[in-house]
Amino acid sequence: MLPLTILPLGIFVLALAACGIAGTSGLPNGRSSAEMPALTCSLAVTERGGQLQMTGQLRAARPVSGRYALTIAQTGRTGQNLIDQSGDFQARAGETVTLGSANISGSMAGFAATLTVEYAQGTLDCPITLS
C-alpha cells in the first residue's frame, strides 16, 4: 500500500499531464492560434532582358497592419544603385498586398536586397524568391 504522502503528488502529476494534452490538441506544432503568424511575405526578383524587376508581397492570414522597408543595392557594369522604399500597409484576412516595387537595369551579380515587415507581433525578414 502506498504512503498517503505520495497520493497528492500523483494527483499533481496527472493534472500537469492533462494540462499539457489540452494545450496542444488540434493545433500544429503545439502553437495556439494567437501565436500563428498573421502574415507571410516575400520579395520576388525576376531577371529579364538586362533588367531586375522586384516586387514585395504580403499575404495576410488575419487582418493586419504595420510598416515595411525595402532596401535594394546593386553594383554592376553601368554603376551603382540604391533604392529605399518604406510605407504603411493594411490587409484584410486572406488579402495579398504589394509592398513596393522596383526596376533596375543590371544583373544578379552585385545585387543585394532586404524586405522587412513590422507589425504587432514583431518584425519579419521576408525571403527572396528568384525566377
Partner: protein, 129 residues
C-alpha cells in the same frame, strides 16, 4: 504609341517652364507643374512611360554607360520615381517623402549631378559634357 502621348504631356508642362540653366558643363532643364492640372498631366505622362517599361509604380533606375550612381528614397508605395542615366560619371539622388509623388530625372552625356529633395511632381533633364 505611348511616346507621342508622353511627348505631348512634357511639352504641355514645358510651355510654362523657365529656361534651361547651365553650370559647370552641365545644362539642366527642370519642369515643374504650376497647378494641379499640369501636375496631373505630368503624372499621366510618367505613368504611361512606366507602363511602357512594365513598371506601374515604385522606383526605376535605368542605366547604360559606366561609373554612374543613382539613389531613390520613397515613403509612399503610390509614388513613382525614375532615374535614367545614359553615358558616364552621372550622379543622381531622388527623395519622395510625401504621397503620390511622380518625378523623373534624365541624365545623358557625362558628369551630370542631380539631388532632388522632394520629388513631388516634375521632370529634370540634364546633359553634361
Amino acid at each position: 504609341m505611348l511616346r507621342p502621348l508622353l511627348r505631348a504631356a512634357v511639352l504641355a508642362v514645358l510651355a510654362g517652364t523657365a529656361g534651361p540653366a547651365i553650370a559647370e558643363n552641365v545644362i539642366s532643364l527642370s519642369l515643374t507643374p504650376r497647378n494641379t492640372q499640369e501636375a496631373d498631366l505630368l503624372r499621366l505622362g510618367l505613368a504611361l512611360y512606366a507602363i511602357n517599361r512594365q513598371t506601374r509604380d515604385g522606383a526605376m533606375i535605368d542605366q547604360t554607360g559606366h561609373n554612374n550612381s543613382a539613389g531613390i528614397t520613397q515613403g509612399d508605395p503610390g509614388s513613382f520615381a525614375l532615374i535614367q542615366q545614359r553615358g558616364r560619371d552621372h550622379f543622381a539622388t531622388l527623395e519622395q517623402p510625401g504621397t503620390a509623388g511622380a518625378y523623373a530625372i534624365f541624365q545623358s552625356g557625362k558628369g551630370a549631378v542631380a539631388q532632388v529633395g522632394d520629388g513631388k511632381a516634375g521632370v529634370l533633364i540634364q546633359f553634361g559634357w
